[in-house]
Assembly symmetry: C2
């Protein structure tokens, strides 16, 4: 039923979706657009897209499904633009890491019977470095793909069918769909995704100051250090929008961790340390 | 030259050393002892040791090299016991994660021309779970093995030769030997090893309280969360001795991270966030 998909933004995620759709057997056409020509060229060469569009809005108009795979503020900008040019024969979805603002915009700009449908989505998959060159057909295999639709949205029967079809492709790409309230989403990802990122950034920045001038000492840390700081390589360009659109939830989890670390620090020589280890062991069981 | 090695404590590290020695071509005998009979049996079955001793001190007396692979306070206890029964034809080494106290004891109890030599060692390798069953001949491949000898120690020529021989086996097991001052060692490992552990414990304990009752949400975090909390499975029994013998250094790094997280938290919406990401990116380059 979905004969043409357009991918707006062929970075790591956009390119990976194109590759994963092909690997899952999608036979319709996939057209891509990217702000930088290099990213579009790489996605094309990798086979993630069949052709490169010159105008993203025209590309969207000519597709049934439009995937926005750009940073959050760029997603919000394109939502404004697309809502004016698309109608009830289209659906738009995204991969943004925070969902409250995007879902609010989706309710304001889409999801009436006359307008295009918008399905706010968030695949819990990625890498610490971006770009089309790292695109990976297996990126979504075994991952959770979160959706934050609002139950009261009214859509045309046609666009509702497109939503259903897109969800089936998400499953075909190897992901598990989970529906969740947008505010709950943003709080949850602050704990399980944004916290790991900001901790890795803080640890990496601190260690760079401490041992950055002694490269032989970086080897000393081994696997644990490497894992705990892997996300330190993540680009500011992507995380800026997350920090700006989920500020309060991220502040709350960072403060909670600061307090927990202080508690550990004050109890290194007391029996409370055992309770912390026991509690942590439970999480990993 | 080393014809008989005894491994006192056949947990994860002791068993792995036995397996790695064999994999590296060691043809002498390896005898083991373990507080729990099950661990000794598993090490024997895995081929890490040739036989199980019933008396650890007698086992040590009959060996040229004695590897202490028990927790730090147990290591300090055995150092006291061994110094009375071994002489200049022996060398003892250990794998303890903190080195200031062990190195001080080594100077007090060993390392005179009449006494056994003691080489304080610390392989930067391990797993988040212990036990002989996880023993791994490749555990030390590519790892750094730290030594904290004091240059003024006076040893018999024979035991000095044993030290040299043991260092060669460490290299043969795939590790890189690095010599470091014991106080500097304890400060360094607080940053690159103990910090990752206590952060993982704090995060895991906190997340257990937050999402422990919603197992489907654990999947949401994906690889990053899994990596950042892997060490949350580490046992208190091992880390208690580390916390007790490196308290001040660990307190200092935990406090430094608390402050760094607070700085990030206060700057989620300012340009300083970019500088933190840039600094972190540098560490991972």
């Amino acid at each position: 039923m979905i004969e043409r998909i357009s991918i707006l933004g062929t970075g790591l995620l956009g390119t990976s979706v194109g590759l994963a759709l092909r690997a899952a057997g999608y036979r319709g056409s996939i057209v891509g657009w990217n702000r930088g020509a290099e990213g579009a060229r790489l996605a094309l060469e990798a086979g993630a897209i069949d052709s490169v569009a010159t105008d993203p809005l025209q590309m969207a108009r000519e597709s049934q499904v439009v995937l926005l795979a750009v940073p959050i503020y760029a997603t919000l900008d394109y939502m404004e633009k697309l809502s004016g040019v698309l109608g009830c024969a289209h659906m738009v979805t995204d991969v943004g890491s925070t969902k409250a603002q995007i879902t609010a915009a989706a309710g304001r700009l889409f999801n009436t019977p006359e307008r295009a449908a918008f399905l706010p989505g968030h695949p819990m998959a990625g890498k610490e470095r971006g770009g089309a060159a790292l695109g990976d057909a297996n990126l979504f295999r075994g991952a959770v793909w979160l959706f934050t639709e609002v139950p009261t949205w009214q859509r045309s029967p046609h666009s509702a069918e497109l939503i259903k079809g897109w969800r089936e492709w998400v499953v075909a790409m190897g992901s598990k769909c989970i529906d969740i309230d947008p505010a709950r989403h943003d709080e949850l990802v602050a704990w399980v995704s944004h916290l790991p990122q900001f901790v890795a950034t803080a640890m990496s920045a601190m260690l760079e100051e401490k041992v950055g001038d002694a490269p032989e000492l970086k080897d000393v840390g081994g696997r644990a250090l490497s894992e705990m700081t892997r996300l330190g390589a993540s680009p500011y360009s992507m995380w800026r929008d997350i920090a700006l659109t989920n500020t309060e939830a991220v502040q709350a989890v960072l403060l909670a961790l600061e307090q927990r670390l202080a508690y550990l620090r004050e109890n290194l020589r007391t029996p409370e340390l055992r309770d912390e280890f026991d509690q942590a062991n439970k999480f990993r069981r």
